[in-house]
């Protein structure tokens, strides 16, 4: 029955209702696939077979009851399995954030995003690998080993949500949650050939998301088709009293039954996103996808986002500064391992020095420096001002266009180990994803082609604040006309 893992979300739900197969059978098919493939891919850090099968039985009972009373309402994701990035808290499942400093930590509560999906009937398969505290672009910074790209085992899956993207690409889960602070949903989606949403900042609650850069962090989702991603987004988005930065705006239901008329849509193509050094077949695939949108009726316009090049220094000052404060809580006192010492101060120094990985320490150092007396104005203060200029670039652009189409990364998935000795080279992988986080606007990634080596290439559509629905509908129209998203490794 392992071909159950190739069903779309829609077909799976249809099959459940008709009784063609049970939730237990579908969950079992995914668990078997994980068992057969994940020793090699390392997409999961933890799987909960027992819990998932138990939940499947309960879901099967609900479908059986529903078949007797088909007018009764069913939760929208009843019996659908989902994987969760190991930086979101799930009650009773270990949460490591890819770090030794949280080894053994089991959260006593659920993240709001997780809670809402459980309420919608979803079944959690387990927790997926991530760069330590989401700091990285390749999943190589995980203390629990790199995740391998399902399209080529010698390549990274991207990061930081690399485990989630790889799990969806390899059909070890139909859906997965990720987080995007500087591109951590969109870039792995591109490297693994799947679709992924980075919502508007404040659209999805951060409660239960272990904090990295609090003014940038947002919970997102992966799926094979944008239609499936939209469903997860809708269910988890919206006001939450436990996160004061969530915004009190209605979350529209994305209506895919009525196709959008692309002739009414103006698509901006920012010239700053096409650099001389980028991989030629990436640029070609993006240009072709834009031509496709034009063929489908959209109006294409070249635009300028003039401060794009400054996003990298701005992000790598602001995010580490916020991280240096957020990660102060890991001190070996209340959770996680403790290295013994005579004094409490020495517990802090020893536990943090030994249990944080190299990249996390680097960013804590960088952020601490940027916030320290005498340097605050020159670094952190300056970065916050340039952030305003980046935000204004987007505000100006959205006066003339509806959405912005752009590459996600200058290359396809790079070889494991390529950038590990050069942090700045790794940071440069993020140049095209950082601006949306700094401005807070939503971005949707979806596959638009392959390079000469058969590695997937993704494109992002960025939208105005709270316009996720428009992004989903445009990308859905694109996916109806193309089959890139249907290819499997």
């Amino acid at each position: 029955m392992s071909d159950l893992t190739s069903l779309s979300l829609h077909r799976a739900l249809q099959g459940y209702r008709k009784g063609d197969f049970s939730c237990r059978e579908l969950i079992q098919a995914y668990l078997e696939r994980i068992q057969n493939l994940d020793f090699d891919l390392n997409a999961y850090l933890y799987t909960d077979s027992e819990g998932a099968l138990k939940a499947a039985e309960i879901a099967d009972q609900r479908f059986a009851a529903w078949r007797k009373f088909p007018d009764s309402e069913l939760p929208p994701l009843l019996g659908i399995p989902i994987a969760v990035k190991d930086i979101l808290c799930v009650k009773g499942m270990p949460c490591t954030c890819g770090s030794r400093i949280l080894e053994g930590f089991v959260p006593p509560y659920n993240a709001t995003a997780v809670e809402r999906l459980l309420a919608a009937g979803a079944i959690l398969l387990g927790k997926t690998n991530t760069d330590e505290f989401a700091m990285g672009s390749s999943t190589e910074n995980s203390a629990y080993g790199v995740t391998r790209n399902p399209w080529n085992r010698e390549r990274v899956p991207g990061g930081s949500s690399g485990g989630s993207a790889a799990a969806v690409a390899a059909r070890l889960a139909p859906l997965a949650l990720g987080t995007d602070t500087g591109g951590s949903v969109r870039q792995p989606a591109s490297f693994c050939g799947v679709s992924g949403i980075k919502p508007t900042y404040g659209r999805v609650s951060r409660y239960g998301l272990v904090a990295y850069g609090s003014s940038l962090d947002v919970v997102g989702a992966f799926g094979r088709e944008v239609q499936e991603v939209a469903m997860v987004f809708e269910l988890m988005a919206g006001l939450d009293r436990r996160d004061a930065t969530t915004v009190d705006l209605p979350v529209p239901h994305v209506n895919f039954d009525q196709p959008i008329d692309l002739r009414t849509i103006r698509v901006g193509v920012p010239k700053e996103y096409f650099l001389p050094g980028m991989q030629p077949d990436v640029e070609q695939a993006i240009r072709q996808a834009i031509v496709k949108l034009q063929e489908l009726g959209a109006q294409i316009e070249e635009i300028s986002l003039p401060h794009t090049e400054y996003a990298l220094p701005v992000y790598y000052l602001i995010a580490p500064a916020e991280a240096s404060a957020n990660l102060a809580r890991y001190d070996g006192i209340r959770y996680g391992p403790r290295l013994s010492a005579e004094t409490m101060w020495d517990i802090f120094y020893r536990t943090r020095g030994e249990k944080f990985g190299a990249e996390v320490k680097r960013r804590i150092m960088l952020g601490t420096y940027a916030l320290s007396a005498g340097y605050y104005d020159a670094y952190y203060g300056k970065a916050q001002k340039v952030r305003t200029l980046i935000k204004q670039d987007f505000e100006r652009a959205f006066q003339t266009v509806d959405v912005i189409a752009a590459p996600i990364a200058p290359t396809t998935a790079f070889p494991i180990g390529e950038h590990t000795d050069d942090p700045l080279a790794m940071y440069l992988e993020d140049v095209f994803t950082l601006p949306a986080n700094l401005a807070g606007v939503p971005g949707l990634a979806f596959p638009v082609g392959f390079d000469q080596q058969g590695l997937p290439i993704g494109m992002q559509l960025m939208g105005n604040y709270f316009q996720e629905e428009l992004l989903f509908r445009i990308a859905h129209t694109y996916q109806l006309a193309t089959d890139w998203h249907l290819r499997t490794p």
Partner: protein, 95 residues
């Protein structure tokens, strides 16, 4: 832009990180290179630009200040490395 050993020691102390000699030297080199690259921000005139601390403001009203249940103490202590008498145990912090 080049950081000194003393600056690196100072930052590590502020961040409460024990670093080996090798780490100190590596971070000194890497952070110097990164900060050098970031100098380009100084090209921009931001004299009259306000800072953005958060890209989207939520404009939320504060909730009423009401007492609510919190998580049970036993659950919270279950993750602690050392517990004594239903409390987190730490070494003496006062002489």
């Amino acid at each position: 832009m080049s950081l000194t050993r003393e600056q690196v020691d100072h930052i590590a102390r502020l961040a409460r990180l024990n670093l080996s000699d090798e780490e100190r030297e590596r971070y000194r080199e890497q952070l110097s290179a990164i900060l050098e690259h970031f100098q380009r921000l100084q090209e921009l005139d931001t004299e009259n630009v306000p800072p953005t601390f958060r890209a989207v403001e939520s404009h939320r009203q504060p909730r009423p200040d009401e007492v609510q249940d919190s998580l049970p103490r036993a659950e919270l202590l279950s993750n602690a490395p050392e517990v004594e008498q239903n409390q987190f145990r730490v070494p003496p912090i006062l002489d």
